[in-house]
Symmetry: C2
DNA sequence: CAAAGAAAATGAACATTGTTCATTTTTGCA
DNA sequence: TGCAAAAATGAACAATGTTCATTTTCTTTG
């Protein structure tokens, strides 16, 4: 192999290499899209790798070429969920009054949870995506961070505006998050339906009203 | 068969029948005890029917003689969990001041959750025990009811004592439950560890303090 | 354009787990 | 002791995640 051939080869190789990379990412995205669709439609527990492969006319093996295991798929969608929800929350920075923004954030959060319960479970309940983080030696969770930052920043502005007197920022943020998460989680997990709660159909909305009343006095 | 024989047979039969019934219930309880031990030790998802059978030196088949499927085992332990936690909560009626009792109940609740995370998941997060309820056409959840009643009764007494002005009992109870559940659920699901929360190690305790401050002003 | 080498895709096969059920073992009673 | 009912058994099946040797497709080169 002389220099000229070597260079040509290099150039061609690089060009197709980039196209290949793009094609690989497209297929990876296709798998994720199919997985997400099935998860939302029939539930994560009811969706198999075979289902996913079938739905895009690829073989089981191909899925494993692009993802090391099911947990990696779950983790990728976990990330997607945070990008989605985080994006919706960030838009609310257009609301200048931090208290109003905080209330709007709560509404967006609970709406997302109740509209996409499987995605919500994946993001905040299931162990799988967290276990995946552990297998790749990563103990951070960038997208979760970003969403919590949005809450923290807003709560901080509320404090600067004179609210939340006598409270500590970080624990109060976690408490607010816990309130919202708790309502959504119990609702999604069907714990409101059978616990003899009156007006179970509207309990989340009703409790959110109580939440707002309390917030208004903090 | 004459009358005398018939009577003797009846008497003997009834005696051994009762003993049999008792023995069956003992084995059922033994299976549950073994299952619970394994669940607590290595997690529900990591425990198989074979594990359970092995640990009490019975065969797989025997487990299925006593329980129709894994969900029935999960449901039985779900019930046990509520009996346990409900019992701990009921003891607190010895605290006469309802506000103090309410705070103590929250402490007992979160302690239970963090001490027995697998049991807590079973009681408040996992779908399996709820799915079992559906398969047997039962949409009630007696033990959950009882525990919520304890909360409702206490909150009602708080109201009668002049607290929670302007709030509605039922939604407020659910909100309080959601706060506690949210904190426990996020902690158990490792959502506090990787979300860039400051002092993640103490965040539940710290947030519980904020919760108490808010409660004191309601 | 054809051949060779690289990359991608495949699906048969395996391990695990929940579950079933025909068979075996044990038990209670005459 | 022998028989019938009850209890226990574990082999076998189905579903699912996963692996990997093989096949197919693509890219490069002469």
């Amino acid at each position: 192999m002389n220099n000229v051939h070597f260079l040509c080869a290099e150039i061609n190789y690089m060009g197709s290499k980039e196209r290949k990379t793009r094609e690989k990412e497209e297929l990876k995205a296709l798998i994720l899209k199919a997985a997400r669709k099935l998860f939302v439609e029939k539930g994560i527990g009811q969706t198999t790798i075979r289902n996913i492969a079938d739905s895009i006319d690829y073989s089981i093996g191909t899925v494993y070429v692009y993802f090391r295991d099911k947990n990696e798929i779950l983790h990728a969608l976990h990330t997607q969920g945070f990008v989605d929800l985080g994006g919706q929350l960030k838009i609310l920075f257009s609301v200048t009054d931090p208290m109003e923004r905080l209330k709007a954030m709560g509404k967006v959060y609970t709406n997302y949870a109740l509209d996409y319960p499987e995605m919500y479970d994946l993001m905040f309940t299931l162990k799988a995506p967290i276990e995946f983080l552990e297998t790749i030696q990563k103990d951070e969770w960038d997208e979760g961070k970003a969403s919590f930052d949005v809450l923290r920043t807003t709560a901080k502005q509320c404090m600067d505006a004179g609210h939340f007197k006598g409270h500590k920022l970080e624990p109060l943020c976690f408490l607010i998050w816990s309130c919202l998460h708790g309502m959504c989680s119990l609702e999604i997990g069907s714990r409101t339906q059978n616990a003899n709660i009156k007006n179970a159909e509207t309990i989340v909305a009703d409790a959110y009203d109580e939440f707002l009343k309390i917030l208004n006095n903090l």
